[in-house]
Protein backbone atom coordinates (compact mmCIF):
# COMPACT_ATOMS: atom_id res chain seq x y z
CA UNK A 1 0.00 0.00 0.00
CA UNK A 2 3.06 2.26 -0.13
CA UNK A 3 4.67 4.18 -2.96
CA UNK A 4 4.18 1.99 -5.99
CA UNK A 5 5.06 -1.40 -4.49
CA UNK A 6 7.10 -3.58 -6.78
CA UNK A 7 4.60 -6.43 -6.97
CA UNK A 8 6.32 -8.36 -9.72
CA UNK A 9 5.07 -11.85 -8.73
CA UNK A 10 8.14 -14.04 -8.55
CA UNK A 11 8.79 -17.68 -7.83
CA UNK A 12 6.45 -20.54 -8.70
CA UNK A 13 6.88 -24.23 -9.45
CA UNK A 14 10.53 -25.16 -9.85
CA UNK A 15 11.74 -21.61 -9.40
CA UNK A 16 15.17 -21.22 -7.83
CA UNK A 17 15.94 -18.57 -5.24
CA UNK A 18 18.55 -16.18 -6.59
CA UNK A 19 18.60 -13.24 -4.21
CA UNK A 20 18.33 -13.57 -0.44
CA UNK A 21 17.98 -10.83 2.13
CA UNK A 22 19.09 -11.64 5.64
CA UNK A 23 18.43 -9.26 8.49
CA UNK A 24 19.87 -9.86 11.94
CA UNK A 25 19.52 -7.97 15.22
CA UNK A 26 23.16 -7.32 15.95
CA UNK A 27 26.07 -8.56 13.89
CA UNK A 28 28.52 -7.59 16.61
CA UNK A 29 27.26 -10.64 18.51
CA UNK A 30 29.07 -13.78 17.28
CA UNK A 31 25.77 -15.63 17.51
CA UNK A 32 24.30 -13.74 14.57
CA UNK A 33 27.55 -13.78 12.68
CA UNK A 34 27.40 -17.56 12.82
CA UNK A 35 23.80 -17.41 11.64
CA UNK A 36 24.92 -15.31 8.68
CA UNK A 37 27.66 -17.82 7.92
CA UNK A 38 25.09 -20.61 7.94
CA UNK A 39 22.93 -18.80 5.40
CA UNK A 40 25.93 -17.83 3.28
CA UNK A 41 27.09 -21.43 3.07
CA UNK A 42 23.64 -22.76 2.21
CA UNK A 43 23.19 -20.00 -0.36
CA UNK A 44 26.42 -20.89 -2.14
CA UNK A 45 25.20 -24.44 -2.56
CA UNK A 46 22.13 -23.23 -4.49
CA UNK A 47 24.11 -20.48 -6.20
CA UNK A 48 22.20 -17.55 -4.67
CA UNK A 49 23.54 -14.25 -3.39
CA UNK A 50 22.91 -12.97 0.14
CA UNK A 51 22.58 -9.37 1.31
CA UNK A 52 23.21 -9.33 5.06
CA UNK A 53 22.07 -6.30 7.04
CA UNK A 54 22.73 -5.45 10.67
CA UNK A 55 19.76 -4.17 12.68
CA UNK A 56 22.03 -2.66 15.33
CA UNK A 57 19.15 -3.50 17.72
CA UNK A 58 17.15 -0.66 16.14
CA UNK A 59 13.69 -1.45 14.84
CA UNK A 60 13.74 1.76 12.81
CA UNK A 61 16.84 0.60 10.97
CA UNK A 62 15.28 -2.78 10.22
CA UNK A 63 12.27 -1.02 8.72
CA UNK A 64 14.46 0.95 6.34
CA UNK A 65 16.40 -2.17 5.42
CA UNK A 66 13.22 -4.03 4.48
CA UNK A 67 12.16 -1.15 2.25
CA UNK A 68 15.55 -1.27 0.57
CA UNK A 69 15.17 -5.01 0.05
CA UNK A 70 11.75 -4.48 -1.47
CA UNK A 71 13.46 -2.05 -3.77
CA UNK A 72 16.04 -4.64 -4.74
CA UNK A 73 13.21 -7.08 -5.49
CA UNK A 74 14.94 -9.87 -3.60
CA UNK A 75 13.31 -13.31 -3.78
CA UNK A 76 13.24 -14.30 -0.12
CA UNK A 77 13.76 -12.51 3.17
CA UNK A 78 15.14 -14.27 6.23
CA UNK A 79 14.47 -12.02 9.17
CA UNK A 80 15.77 -12.07 12.68
CA UNK A 81 13.68 -9.28 14.15
CA UNK A 82 14.68 -6.90 16.91
CA UNK A 83 11.06 -7.09 18.02
CA UNK A 84 8.56 -9.79 17.02
CA UNK A 85 5.56 -7.49 16.79
CA UNK A 86 7.18 -4.22 15.85
CA UNK A 87 8.51 -5.73 12.66
CA UNK A 88 4.96 -6.76 11.61
CA UNK A 89 4.08 -3.84 9.31
CA UNK A 90 7.41 -4.10 7.51
CA UNK A 91 6.91 -7.84 6.98
CA UNK A 92 3.51 -7.13 5.46
CA UNK A 93 5.08 -4.65 3.04
CA UNK A 94 7.62 -7.26 2.01
CA UNK A 95 4.94 -9.88 1.38
CA UNK A 96 2.88 -7.40 -0.65
CA UNK A 97 5.97 -6.87 -2.76
CA UNK A 98 5.97 -10.60 -3.50
CA UNK A 99 8.83 -11.52 -1.20
CA UNK A 100 8.61 -14.76 0.76
CA UNK A 101 9.41 -14.08 4.40
CA UNK A 102 10.79 -16.56 6.94
CA UNK A 103 11.51 -15.66 10.54
CA UNK A 104 14.75 -16.88 12.09
CA UNK A 105 15.55 -17.33 15.76
CA UNK A 106 12.85 -14.88 16.87
CA UNK A 107 9.23 -14.96 15.72
CA UNK A 108 8.17 -12.18 13.36
CA UNK A 109 4.52 -11.19 13.09
CA UNK A 110 3.19 -12.01 9.63
CA UNK A 111 6.09 -14.24 8.54
CA UNK A 112 4.95 -17.18 6.40
CA UNK A 113 7.16 -19.60 8.25
CA UNK A 114 9.63 -19.56 11.10
CA UNK A 115 12.62 -21.39 12.48
CA UNK A 116 12.95 -20.35 16.08
CA UNK A 117 15.06 -21.36 18.93
CA UNK A 118 13.01 -22.05 21.94
CA UNK A 119 14.54 -19.25 23.96
CA UNK A 120 12.15 -19.94 26.80
CA UNK A 121 13.30 -23.54 26.89
CA UNK A 122 16.92 -22.39 26.77
CA UNK A 123 16.43 -20.18 29.80
CA UNK A 124 14.53 -22.97 31.50
CA UNK A 125 17.24 -25.56 30.87
CA UNK A 126 20.04 -23.28 31.96
CA UNK A 127 18.42 -22.33 35.23
CA UNK A 128 17.33 -25.89 35.98
CA UNK A 129 20.93 -26.97 35.55
CA UNK A 130 22.08 -24.09 37.74
CA UNK A 131 19.52 -24.95 40.41
CA UNK A 132 20.54 -28.60 40.51
CA UNK A 133 24.22 -27.78 40.67
CA UNK A 134 23.77 -25.58 43.72
CA UNK A 135 21.73 -28.23 45.41
CA UNK A 136 18.30 -26.72 44.94
CA UNK A 137 18.78 -24.02 47.54
CA UNK A 138 20.43 -20.63 47.99
CA UNK A 139 20.61 -17.16 46.52
CA UNK A 140 21.48 -16.46 42.89
CA UNK A 141 22.02 -13.42 40.67
CA UNK A 142 20.25 -12.89 37.35
CA UNK A 143 21.97 -10.72 34.76
CA UNK A 144 19.36 -9.55 32.31
CA UNK A 145 19.96 -7.83 28.97
CA UNK A 146 18.51 -5.26 26.61
CA UNK A 147 14.79 -5.98 26.43
CA UNK A 148 14.39 -7.65 23.05
CA UNK A 149 12.16 -10.66 22.44
CA UNK A 150 14.81 -13.36 22.62
CA UNK A 151 16.29 -12.04 25.85
CA UNK A 152 12.92 -11.63 27.52
CA UNK A 153 11.98 -15.23 26.67
CA UNK A 154 15.16 -16.57 28.25
CA UNK A 155 14.48 -14.69 31.46
CA UNK A 156 10.90 -15.93 31.49
CA UNK A 157 12.12 -19.50 30.98
CA UNK A 158 14.62 -19.18 33.78
CA UNK A 159 12.06 -17.89 36.23
CA UNK A 160 9.64 -20.66 35.26
CA UNK A 161 12.30 -23.22 36.05
CA UNK A 162 13.08 -21.67 39.41
CA UNK A 163 9.44 -21.95 40.47
CA UNK A 164 10.22 -25.63 41.07
CA UNK A 165 12.93 -24.65 43.54
CA UNK A 166 11.25 -22.70 46.33
CA UNK A 167 14.48 -22.46 48.35
CA UNK A 168 16.22 -20.61 45.55
CA UNK A 169 15.72 -16.86 45.33
CA UNK A 170 16.98 -14.29 42.85
CA UNK A 171 18.44 -11.68 45.18
CA UNK A 172 19.43 -9.23 42.47
CA UNK A 173 18.53 -8.68 38.82
CA UNK A 174 20.41 -6.15 36.70
CA UNK A 175 20.88 -5.29 33.04
CA UNK A 176 24.23 -6.29 31.57
CA UNK A 177 23.52 -4.81 28.15
CA UNK A 178 24.10 -8.22 26.50
CA UNK A 179 27.81 -7.57 26.62
CA UNK A 180 30.87 -8.74 28.47
CA UNK A 181 32.10 -5.35 29.68
CA UNK A 182 28.90 -4.00 31.20
CA UNK A 183 28.17 -7.43 32.69
CA UNK A 184 31.62 -7.41 34.30
CA UNK A 185 31.03 -4.00 35.87
CA UNK A 186 27.58 -4.63 37.27
CA UNK A 187 28.39 -8.21 38.32
CA UNK A 188 31.27 -6.80 40.35
CA UNK A 189 28.86 -4.48 42.12
CA UNK A 190 26.19 -7.17 42.54
CA UNK A 191 28.73 -9.49 44.13
CA UNK A 192 29.75 -6.72 46.47
CA UNK A 193 26.18 -6.35 47.63
CA UNK A 194 25.64 -10.11 47.78
CA UNK A 195 28.99 -11.80 48.35
CA UNK A 196 27.37 -15.04 49.48
CA UNK A 197 25.36 -16.02 46.38
CA UNK A 198 25.72 -19.53 45.01
CA UNK A 199 25.27 -18.96 41.30
CA UNK A 200 24.71 -16.57 38.42
CA UNK A 201 22.56 -16.83 35.30
CA UNK A 202 23.56 -14.63 32.37
CA UNK A 203 21.12 -14.22 29.48
CA UNK A 204 23.87 -15.00 26.99
CA UNK A 205 27.46 -16.17 26.98
CA UNK A 206 29.14 -12.75 26.82
CA UNK A 207 27.14 -11.77 29.89
CA UNK A 208 27.90 -14.98 31.78
CA UNK A 209 31.59 -14.72 30.88
CA UNK A 210 31.67 -11.13 32.11
CA UNK A 211 30.18 -12.34 35.39
CA UNK A 212 32.80 -15.08 35.58
CA UNK A 213 35.57 -12.51 35.25
CA UNK A 214 33.92 -10.39 37.92
CA UNK A 215 33.84 -13.29 40.37
CA UNK A 216 37.49 -14.15 39.68
CA UNK A 217 38.59 -10.55 40.12
CA UNK A 218 36.56 -10.20 43.30
CA UNK A 219 38.28 -13.33 44.57
CA UNK A 220 34.97 -15.12 45.02
CA UNK A 221 35.10 -18.86 44.35
CA UNK A 222 32.74 -21.81 44.17
CA UNK A 223 30.05 -20.13 42.10
CA UNK A 224 28.04 -21.89 39.41
CA UNK A 225 27.71 -19.60 36.39
CA UNK A 226 25.62 -20.53 33.37
CA UNK A 227 24.85 -18.80 30.11
CA UNK A 228 23.06 -19.33 26.83
CA UNK A 229 24.40 -19.77 23.25
CA UNK A 230 27.43 -22.09 23.57
CA UNK A 231 29.48 -19.63 21.58
CA UNK A 232 33.16 -20.29 20.73
CA UNK A 233 34.11 -17.94 23.59
CA UNK A 234 32.03 -20.08 25.93
CA UNK A 235 33.51 -23.31 24.63
CA UNK A 236 36.99 -21.92 25.17
CA UNK A 237 36.03 -21.04 28.75
CA UNK A 238 34.50 -24.46 29.40
CA UNK A 239 37.77 -26.01 28.38
CA UNK A 240 39.46 -24.34 31.35
CA UNK A 241 39.07 -27.01 34.06
CA UNK A 242 38.86 -24.54 36.95
CA UNK A 243 36.46 -21.99 35.48
CA UNK A 244 33.26 -21.19 37.40
CA UNK A 245 31.50 -20.96 34.07
CA UNK A 246 30.04 -24.45 34.02
CA UNK A 247 27.37 -24.71 31.38
CA UNK A 248 25.54 -23.01 28.58
CA UNK A 249 22.37 -23.81 26.67
CA UNK A 250 23.40 -24.62 23.11
CA UNK A 251 21.78 -22.70 20.33
CA UNK A 252 22.79 -23.51 16.81
CA UNK A 253 22.40 -20.33 14.81
CA UNK A 254 24.33 -21.82 11.93
CA UNK A 255 21.93 -24.70 11.26
CA UNK A 256 19.00 -22.41 11.98
CA UNK A 257 20.05 -20.17 9.15
CA UNK A 258 20.41 -23.10 6.81
CA UNK A 259 16.99 -24.52 7.70
CA UNK A 260 15.40 -21.12 7.26
CA UNK A 261 16.79 -20.80 3.76
CA UNK A 262 15.59 -24.31 2.95
CA UNK A 263 12.03 -23.40 3.97
CA UNK A 264 12.21 -20.14 2.06
CA UNK A 265 13.36 -22.03 -1.05
CA UNK A 266 10.39 -24.36 -0.71
CA UNK A 267 7.95 -21.49 -0.33
CA UNK A 268 9.53 -19.77 -3.31
CA UNK A 269 9.10 -22.87 -5.45
CA UNK A 270 5.47 -23.00 -4.34
CA UNK A 271 5.91 -26.26 -2.45
CA UNK A 272 4.13 -27.16 0.75
CA UNK A 273 5.99 -27.02 4.06
CA UNK A 274 5.57 -30.01 6.39
CA UNK A 275 5.43 -27.56 9.24
CA UNK A 276 5.17 -23.78 9.18
CA UNK A 277 7.07 -23.46 12.43
CA UNK A 278 10.25 -25.38 13.19
CA UNK A 279 11.48 -25.29 16.72
CA UNK A 280 15.21 -26.03 17.03
CA UNK A 281 15.81 -28.02 20.20
CA UNK A 282 18.42 -26.86 22.62
CA UNK A 283 20.66 -28.88 24.92
CA UNK A 284 22.89 -28.02 27.83
CA UNK A 285 26.60 -28.07 27.04
CA UNK A 286 28.77 -28.86 30.05
CA UNK A 287 32.37 -29.97 30.53
CA UNK A 288 31.13 -33.55 30.42
CA UNK A 289 29.48 -33.45 26.99
CA UNK A 290 31.67 -30.73 25.56
CA UNK A 291 33.51 -33.29 23.45
CA UNK A 292 30.37 -34.21 21.51
CA UNK A 293 29.38 -30.58 20.86
CA UNK A 294 30.39 -29.63 17.34
CA UNK A 295 30.01 -25.91 18.01
CA UNK A 296 29.14 -23.16 15.56
CA UNK A 297 30.52 -22.99 12.05
Amino acid sequence: SEGDPVTAERGGPGAKVETIGLMVQDLSNPFFQSMANGVQAAAEKIGATVNVQDGRQDLGAQNEQIDAFIQQQIDVLLINAVDSDGIGPAVDRAKEAGIRVVAVDVAARGAEAQVTLDNTAAGNLACTYLADQIGGAGDILLINGTPISSVQDRVTGCKQALQNYPQISIVAEQNGDNGRAEALTIATDMLTAHPDVKGIFGINDPTALGATLAAQQAGIGGLVIVGVDASPEAVAELQKPDSMFEATAAQDPNTQGAIALEMAQKLFAGEQLEEQSVLVPTEMITRENLAQYKGWQ
Binding site: S1, E2, G3, D4, P5, V6, L27, T49, N51, V52, Q53, D54, R56, Q57, D58, L59, G60, N63, E64, Q65, D67, A68, F69, I70, Q71, Q72, Q73, D83, D85, G86, I87, G88, P89, A90, R93, T146, P147, S149, Q152
Partner: protein
Protein backbone atom coordinates in the same frame (compact mmCIF):
# COMPACT_ATOMS: atom_id res chain seq x y z
CA UNK B 1 47.64 67.06 -3.37
CA UNK B 2 44.26 66.91 -1.75
CA UNK B 3 41.61 65.10 -3.72
CA UNK B 4 38.22 66.37 -2.71
CA UNK B 5 35.06 64.43 -3.35
CA UNK B 6 31.45 65.66 -3.45
CA UNK B 7 30.14 66.37 0.04
CA UNK B 8 29.01 63.55 2.25
CA UNK B 9 30.14 60.53 0.29
CA UNK B 10 30.33 57.79 2.90
CA UNK B 11 33.43 55.76 3.50
CA UNK B 12 33.29 53.27 0.66
CA UNK B 13 32.81 49.79 2.06
CA UNK B 14 35.01 47.55 -0.07
CA UNK B 15 32.82 44.53 0.34
CA UNK B 16 29.74 46.38 -0.83
CA UNK B 17 29.61 44.65 -4.21
CA UNK B 18 26.08 43.22 -4.41
CA UNK B 19 26.64 40.88 -7.38
CA UNK B 20 26.95 37.44 -5.73
CA UNK B 21 30.47 36.08 -5.98
CA UNK B 22 31.19 32.40 -6.59
CA UNK B 23 31.91 32.15 -2.91
CA UNK B 24 28.51 33.47 -1.95
CA UNK B 25 26.79 31.11 -4.35
CA UNK B 26 28.73 28.21 -2.84
CA UNK B 27 27.77 29.38 0.66
CA UNK B 28 24.16 29.11 -0.36
CA UNK B 29 24.14 25.97 -2.45
CA UNK B 30 27.38 24.18 -1.60
CA UNK B 31 25.78 21.45 0.45
CA UNK B 32 23.06 21.01 -2.17
CA UNK B 33 25.77 20.33 -4.74
CA UNK B 34 27.18 17.70 -2.40
CA UNK B 35 23.76 16.04 -2.20
CA UNK B 36 23.23 16.04 -5.95
CA UNK B 37 26.71 14.63 -6.54
CA UNK B 38 25.88 11.85 -4.12
CA UNK B 39 22.55 11.10 -5.76
CA UNK B 40 24.26 11.01 -9.16
CA UNK B 41 26.88 8.62 -7.84
CA UNK B 42 24.30 6.34 -6.24
CA UNK B 43 22.20 6.37 -9.38
CA UNK B 44 25.16 4.91 -11.22
CA UNK B 45 26.45 2.34 -8.75
CA UNK B 46 23.45 1.39 -6.61
CA UNK B 47 20.93 -0.94 -8.26
CA UNK B 48 17.33 0.37 -8.40
CA UNK B 49 18.37 3.55 -6.61
CA UNK B 50 16.90 5.96 -9.10
CA UNK B 51 13.18 5.17 -9.09
CA UNK B 52 10.10 6.91 -7.80
CA UNK B 53 9.37 4.14 -5.33
CA UNK B 54 12.91 4.23 -3.96
CA UNK B 55 12.72 8.00 -3.83
CA UNK B 56 9.72 7.49 -1.58
CA UNK B 57 11.64 4.90 0.44
CA UNK B 58 14.40 7.39 1.09
CA UNK B 59 11.93 10.15 1.90
CA UNK B 60 10.00 7.84 4.22
CA UNK B 61 13.14 6.61 5.91
CA UNK B 62 14.35 10.19 6.28
CA UNK B 63 11.06 11.59 7.53
CA UNK B 64 11.55 10.82 11.24
CA UNK B 65 15.10 12.13 11.45
CA UNK B 66 14.11 15.12 9.32
CA UNK B 67 11.27 16.04 11.69
CA UNK B 68 13.66 15.74 14.63
CA UNK B 69 16.22 17.89 12.85
CA UNK B 70 13.64 20.59 12.13
CA UNK B 71 13.07 21.18 15.84
CA UNK B 72 16.77 20.75 16.54
CA UNK B 73 17.52 23.56 14.08
CA UNK B 74 15.54 26.03 16.20
CA UNK B 75 17.48 25.05 19.33
CA UNK B 76 20.86 25.19 17.63
CA UNK B 77 20.07 28.57 16.08
CA UNK B 78 19.85 29.95 19.62
CA UNK B 79 23.29 28.47 20.31
CA UNK B 80 21.85 25.61 22.34
CA UNK B 81 21.57 21.87 21.78
CA UNK B 82 19.03 19.14 22.59
CA UNK B 83 20.44 15.66 23.15
CA UNK B 84 17.15 14.35 24.55
CA UNK B 85 15.13 14.13 21.32
CA UNK B 86 16.02 10.48 20.73
CA UNK B 87 14.66 9.48 24.11
CA UNK B 88 11.60 11.66 23.60
CA UNK B 89 10.81 9.45 20.61
CA UNK B 90 10.73 6.49 22.97
CA UNK B 91 8.54 8.10 25.62
CA UNK B 92 6.06 9.77 23.30
CA UNK B 93 5.69 6.73 21.06
CA UNK B 94 5.02 4.48 24.02
CA UNK B 95 2.62 7.02 25.52
CA UNK B 96 0.57 7.27 22.35
CA UNK B 97 0.20 3.49 22.15
CA UNK B 98 -0.66 3.33 25.86
CA UNK B 99 -3.41 5.88 25.25
CA UNK B 100 -4.67 3.93 22.27
CA UNK B 101 -4.73 0.68 24.20
CA UNK B 102 -6.56 2.48 27.01
CA UNK B 103 -9.31 3.11 24.47
CA UNK B 104 -8.57 6.71 23.58
CA UNK B 105 -9.54 7.78 20.04
CA UNK B 106 -6.66 7.96 17.57
CA UNK B 107 -6.55 11.77 17.58
CA UNK B 108 -6.27 11.86 21.36
CA UNK B 109 -3.55 9.21 21.33
CA UNK B 110 -1.55 11.20 18.76
CA UNK B 111 -1.98 14.54 20.51
CA UNK B 112 -1.20 12.84 23.81
CA UNK B 113 2.06 11.49 22.49
CA UNK B 114 3.02 14.86 21.07
CA UNK B 115 2.03 16.56 24.33
CA UNK B 116 4.37 14.27 26.27
CA UNK B 117 7.22 15.34 24.01
CA UNK B 118 6.27 18.98 24.42
CA UNK B 119 6.21 18.58 28.21
CA UNK B 120 9.69 17.10 28.20
CA UNK B 121 10.87 19.98 26.02
CA UNK B 122 9.21 22.48 28.34
CA UNK B 123 11.16 21.13 31.31
CA UNK B 124 14.43 21.29 29.34
CA UNK B 125 13.57 24.83 28.33
CA UNK B 126 12.77 25.89 31.86
CA UNK B 127 16.07 24.56 33.21
CA UNK B 128 18.07 26.14 30.40
CA UNK B 129 16.24 29.46 30.18
CA UNK B 130 15.29 30.22 33.77
CA UNK B 131 17.88 28.34 35.83
CA UNK B 132 20.60 29.06 33.25
CA UNK B 133 21.91 25.48 33.32
CA UNK B 134 24.07 24.35 30.39
CA UNK B 135 21.82 22.91 27.67
CA UNK B 136 24.24 20.10 26.92
CA UNK B 137 24.02 18.69 30.44
CA UNK B 138 20.33 19.37 30.96
CA UNK B 139 19.39 17.53 27.78
CA UNK B 140 21.98 14.82 28.43
CA UNK B 141 20.24 14.22 31.74
CA UNK B 142 16.89 14.25 29.96
CA UNK B 143 18.23 11.75 27.42
CA UNK B 144 18.90 9.43 30.34
CA UNK B 145 15.81 9.85 32.51
CA UNK B 146 13.39 9.95 29.57
CA UNK B 147 14.75 6.64 28.28
CA UNK B 148 14.26 5.25 31.75
CA UNK B 149 10.72 6.58 31.77
CA UNK B 150 9.98 4.94 28.43
CA UNK B 151 11.07 1.58 29.88
CA UNK B 152 9.21 2.20 33.11
CA UNK B 153 5.98 2.95 31.24
CA UNK B 154 6.08 -0.47 29.59
CA UNK B 155 7.99 -2.39 32.21
CA UNK B 156 10.80 -2.72 29.69
CA UNK B 157 8.61 -4.72 27.32
CA UNK B 158 7.65 -3.51 23.86
CA UNK B 159 3.99 -2.55 23.86
CA UNK B 160 1.75 -4.34 21.38
CA UNK B 161 -1.01 -2.15 19.95
CA UNK B 162 -4.48 -3.60 20.48
CA UNK B 163 -6.55 -4.06 17.34
CA UNK B 164 -5.04 -2.18 14.45
CA UNK B 165 -3.51 1.06 15.54
CA UNK B 166 -5.89 3.94 14.78
CA UNK B 167 -3.09 6.28 13.72
CA UNK B 168 -0.99 3.81 11.76
CA UNK B 169 -1.49 6.08 8.75
CA UNK B 170 1.04 8.47 10.31
CA UNK B 171 3.72 5.86 9.69
CA UNK B 172 2.42 3.74 6.85
CA UNK B 173 0.20 4.25 3.85
CA UNK B 174 -0.17 7.16 1.51
CA UNK B 175 -1.94 10.49 1.28
CA UNK B 176 -2.67 11.28 -2.35
CA UNK B 177 -0.13 8.71 -3.56
CA UNK B 178 2.57 10.24 -1.32
CA UNK B 179 3.76 8.29 1.72
CA UNK B 180 2.00 9.90 4.67
CA UNK B 181 5.14 10.33 6.85
CA UNK B 182 6.58 12.31 3.98
CA UNK B 183 3.52 14.54 3.99
CA UNK B 184 3.90 15.09 7.74
CA UNK B 185 7.57 15.93 7.23
CA UNK B 186 6.82 18.47 4.51
CA UNK B 187 4.16 20.15 6.64
CA UNK B 188 6.62 20.35 9.55
CA UNK B 189 9.25 22.01 7.40
CA UNK B 190 6.83 24.52 5.95
CA UNK B 191 5.76 25.40 9.49
CA UNK B 192 9.31 25.82 10.77
CA UNK B 193 10.27 27.78 7.67
CA UNK B 194 7.34 30.11 8.32
CA UNK B 195 8.31 30.58 11.96
CA UNK B 196 11.90 31.42 11.10
CA UNK B 197 11.36 33.59 8.04
CA UNK B 198 8.02 35.23 8.60
CA UNK B 199 7.45 35.80 12.32
CA UNK B 200 8.89 38.07 15.00
CA UNK B 201 9.58 34.93 17.03
CA UNK B 202 11.82 33.77 14.20
CA UNK B 203 13.73 37.07 14.18
CA UNK B 204 14.12 36.78 17.94
CA UNK B 205 15.56 33.27 17.62
CA UNK B 206 18.27 34.55 15.29
CA UNK B 207 18.88 37.56 17.53
CA UNK B 208 19.29 35.50 20.70
CA UNK B 209 21.62 33.11 18.91
CA UNK B 210 23.56 35.93 17.32
CA UNK B 211 24.23 38.02 20.41
CA UNK B 212 22.30 37.22 23.55
CA UNK B 213 23.36 40.36 25.44
CA UNK B 214 22.42 42.59 22.55
CA UNK B 215 19.11 40.76 22.26
CA UNK B 216 18.34 41.40 25.93
CA UNK B 217 19.26 45.08 25.69
CA UNK B 218 17.15 45.35 22.54
CA UNK B 219 14.14 44.35 24.65
CA UNK B 220 13.80 40.75 23.53
CA UNK B 221 12.52 38.41 26.26
CA UNK B 222 15.48 36.07 25.87
CA UNK B 223 14.33 33.52 28.42
CA UNK B 224 10.92 33.16 26.89
CA UNK B 225 12.45 32.68 23.45
CA UNK B 226 14.69 29.92 24.80
CA UNK B 227 11.83 28.26 26.62
CA UNK B 228 9.70 28.21 23.48
CA UNK B 229 12.53 26.88 21.35
CA UNK B 230 13.12 23.85 23.57
CA UNK B 231 9.39 23.36 23.83
CA UNK B 232 9.17 23.20 20.04
CA UNK B 233 12.10 20.79 19.85
CA UNK B 234 10.31 18.51 22.31
CA UNK B 235 7.10 18.87 20.36
CA UNK B 236 8.62 17.88 17.03
CA UNK B 237 10.43 15.00 18.75
CA UNK B 238 7.07 13.95 20.20
CA UNK B 239 5.62 14.01 16.70
CA UNK B 240 8.54 11.92 15.45
CA UNK B 241 7.91 9.47 18.28
CA UNK B 242 4.27 9.05 17.30
CA UNK B 243 5.33 8.58 13.68
CA UNK B 244 7.75 5.87 14.81
CA UNK B 245 5.07 4.09 16.83
CA UNK B 246 2.71 4.31 13.88
CA UNK B 247 5.37 2.90 11.58
CA UNK B 248 6.05 -0.14 13.75
CA UNK B 249 2.46 -0.27 15.04
CA UNK B 250 3.67 -0.75 18.60
CA UNK B 251 5.26 1.14 21.47
CA UNK B 252 8.99 0.49 21.51
CA UNK B 253 10.73 1.79 24.66
CA UNK B 254 14.07 1.63 22.86
CA UNK B 255 12.85 3.63 19.87
CA UNK B 256 15.09 6.49 18.78
CA UNK B 257 18.28 5.47 20.59
CA UNK B 258 21.11 7.58 19.19
CA UNK B 259 18.86 9.50 16.80
CA UNK B 260 19.89 12.80 18.42
CA UNK B 261 23.30 12.58 16.81
CA UNK B 262 21.85 11.99 13.34
CA UNK B 263 19.56 14.97 13.83
CA UNK B 264 22.42 17.23 14.90
CA UNK B 265 24.51 15.96 12.00
CA UNK B 266 21.71 16.91 9.61
CA UNK B 267 21.51 20.41 11.07
CA UNK B 268 25.24 21.05 10.92
CA UNK B 269 25.60 19.50 7.47
CA UNK B 270 22.86 21.95 6.51
CA UNK B 271 25.22 24.78 7.35
CA UNK B 272 23.77 25.90 10.69
CA UNK B 273 26.45 27.07 13.10
CA UNK B 274 26.58 25.30 16.45
CA UNK B 275 27.38 28.71 17.95
CA UNK B 276 23.96 29.95 16.93
CA UNK B 277 22.61 32.89 15.00
CA UNK B 278 23.43 31.53 11.59
CA UNK B 279 21.64 28.92 9.50
CA UNK B 280 18.64 28.09 7.36
CA UNK B 281 15.97 25.43 7.70
CA UNK B 282 16.20 24.21 4.10
CA UNK B 283 19.84 23.47 4.73
CA UNK B 284 18.79 21.09 7.49
CA UNK B 285 16.44 19.36 5.09
CA UNK B 286 19.26 18.82 2.62
CA UNK B 287 21.46 17.58 5.44
CA UNK B 288 18.86 15.00 6.48
CA UNK B 289 18.53 13.86 2.87
CA UNK B 290 22.29 13.39 2.55
CA UNK B 291 22.27 11.06 5.52
CA UNK B 292 19.18 9.22 4.25
CA UNK B 293 20.44 8.79 0.69
CA UNK B 294 23.69 7.44 2.03
CA UNK B 295 22.13 4.81 4.30
CA UNK B 296 19.70 3.71 1.61
CA UNK B 297 22.31 3.53 -1.12
CA UNK B 298 24.75 1.54 0.99
CA UNK B 299 22.11 -1.08 1.77
CA UNK B 300 21.14 -1.31 -1.91
CA UNK B 301 24.80 -1.85 -2.75
CA UNK B 302 24.96 -4.65 -0.20
CA UNK B 303 27.92 -3.08 1.58
CA UNK B 304 28.91 -4.97 4.76
CA UNK B 305 27.60 -3.18 7.85
CA UNK B 306 30.95 -2.17 9.26
CA UNK B 307 32.07 -0.81 5.91
CA UNK B 308 28.84 1.19 5.94
CA UNK B 309 29.87 2.80 9.22
CA UNK B 310 33.29 3.67 7.85
CA UNK B 311 31.84 5.22 4.71
CA UNK B 312 29.14 7.12 6.60
CA UNK B 313 31.65 8.63 9.00
CA UNK B 314 33.96 9.63 6.19
CA UNK B 315 31.16 11.12 4.09
CA UNK B 316 29.87 13.26 6.97
CA UNK B 317 33.32 14.76 7.40
CA UNK B 318 33.92 15.22 3.69
CA UNK B 319 30.52 16.85 3.30
CA UNK B 320 31.17 19.54 5.89
CA UNK B 321 34.67 19.80 4.49
CA UNK B 322 33.38 20.68 1.04
CA UNK B 323 30.72 22.91 2.51
CA UNK B 324 33.27 24.80 4.59
CA UNK B 325 35.30 25.63 1.50
CA UNK B 326 33.47 28.94 1.79
CA UNK B 327 35.50 29.80 4.87
CA UNK B 328 38.60 29.58 2.78
CA UNK B 329 37.83 32.81 1.01
CA UNK B 330 38.59 34.78 4.16
Amino acid sequence: MTRTAPAGTPATEPAERTRPSFGQVWDRYGILVVLLAMVALMAVIAPNFLSLSNGFNVARAVSINAVLAAGMTLVILTGGIDLSVGSVIGVSGVSSVLLWNAGAPAVVAVLGGIAVGAAAGLLNGFLVAYLALPAFIVTLGALTYLRGTAYALTDGQPLIAEGDLGFRLLGNGNIAAIPSPVVVMVITYVAVWFILERTTFGRHIYAVGGNVEAARLAGIKVRRVLLQVYLLAGLTAGLAGVMFAARVESGQPRAGEGYELDAIAAVVLGGTSLFGGRGRIHGTFVGALIIGVLSNGLVLMNVPFFTQLIIKGAVIIVAVGLDSLKNWRS
